[in-house]
Amino acid sequence: MSQLPLFPPAAMTVAELTRYLRELLESDYTLRDLWVQGEISNFSRPSSGHVYFTLKDSSASLRCVMWRNAAMRQARMPAEGEAVEVHGFISIYEVSGQYQLYADVIRPVGEGLLFQEFLRLKARLEAEGLFDPERKRPLPRWPERIGVVTSPSGAAIRDILNTLGRRYPLAEVILAPTPVQGVEAPPGIISALQELNRRVKPDVILVARGGGSLEDLWAFNDEGVVRAIAASLAPVITGIGHETDFTLSDFAADLRAPTPTAAAELATPNQADLRADLTEQILRLVRAAGTTLDAQRWVLNSLKNRLSLISPQSRLRSDRQRLDEFIHRSETALAHCMEMEHTRLNSLSQYLESLNPMAVLQRGFAIVAREDGQRVYSTSQVKPGDFLTIRVSDGDFSAEAN
């Protein structure tokens, strides 16, 4: 038994030791980045959003925590008792002195193997040219018949029909029902594609499935399914799983949509756009017709002007004008004549007036007439004793000659 040194080293505090251990663990290359396999137990997700669970196997257990951000990126959370592989790093939670796994990815056991297989098949089909961009066909602008390969009861068909009904109700949808997961899925999808192409000849085919685990979507990585999509006569749009899910079917398709809804959207025009197009056509139509009419009106107008210059109407008008002139001139002439006549008549009447015997009588002369009415011009016509009538300006009287 060694003796205690005279001056023993100062004791570490718990915090110092814990920090020392933590730094030791965190600097270990293996513990910084590792996958651990086990069964989920004591799974809990309090309102903070962080996820706590214990990873167990037959003889040991490991405390695990997954922060909220990482948990939100997780496509799905494992169930209690599920065998999983967890990725993360090992460190110490200083408060309780507990070492634990800080997890960022949880995946079902076997997914790693599936992924290897996925990559191998992808490389093989790629080398074969199945995914070549030149193979991609253009999609019809306005599909009349849309084939849909999916489950008749899933969320995918509902989303697709809702979207198509809203955007493009002009289309006819032919649903080729098939299981989309499990062992019946690959042969079902293959025969649905073949039947659609053979019997319906749609303008485009949507191959769709709602979200799920990588295993759920596995049918769409089946080599037969991928080849059937590549061989389809009608162009194929895939909408499988979520945004982040990629299957080999997606690579073989003419277009890959992130979701079933997006597949329906990519397959069809929006009727709001169609109506906007129509409005534009209306405007163009009216404008073009207006332009034609205006041009026609202009031509018509100039023709009218030319016509009015050469028309008999216009000659008539100038004749009419000459006539008016004649009338005017003759009227003037007539008036002149009348005036002359007037003057002449006037002097004539003055002359006549001068010849009026009554005027002479007024000047004091008288007209003498015999009883037999004969005027007396000469003394020879009168004998003494004759009764004479003497006419003066205002009447007459009798007289006896002597």
């Binding site: 009904g165 002009l170 319906v200 139509l285």
Partner: protein, 84 residues
């Protein structure tokens, strides 16, 4: 591509038999002709009337359209109503 969409805009097809795509491209053709071609007034008016008819047909098709859904089952196409 279906056979019908290749014959779009065929003047001899009665409007009622045309798909939306065909009616619309006929409309586009009429409008373009009206805009770019030197037409007599009679031709222009005819084209304008045809444009109007095609337009009405397009709107009619859109207004009355209801998505037809059928199920490929057995030897024939059956009506299909999705579960709510």
């Amino acid at each position: 591509m279906t056979e019908s969409s290749q014959t779009s805009g065929d003047l001899n097809t009665p409007i009622e038999k045309m798909t939306y795509e065909q009616v619309f491209s006929a409309l586009e053709a009429a409008v373009t002709a009206l805009e770019t071609e030197k037409l007599s007034l009679d031709e222009a008016m005819l084209l304008f009337e045809r444009g109007q008819t095609l337009l009405r047909r397009c709107l009619d098709l859109l207004d009355k359209a209801e998505l037809k859904v059928r199920l490929l089952s057995g030897d024939e196409l059956a009506d299909f109503t999705p579960q709510a």
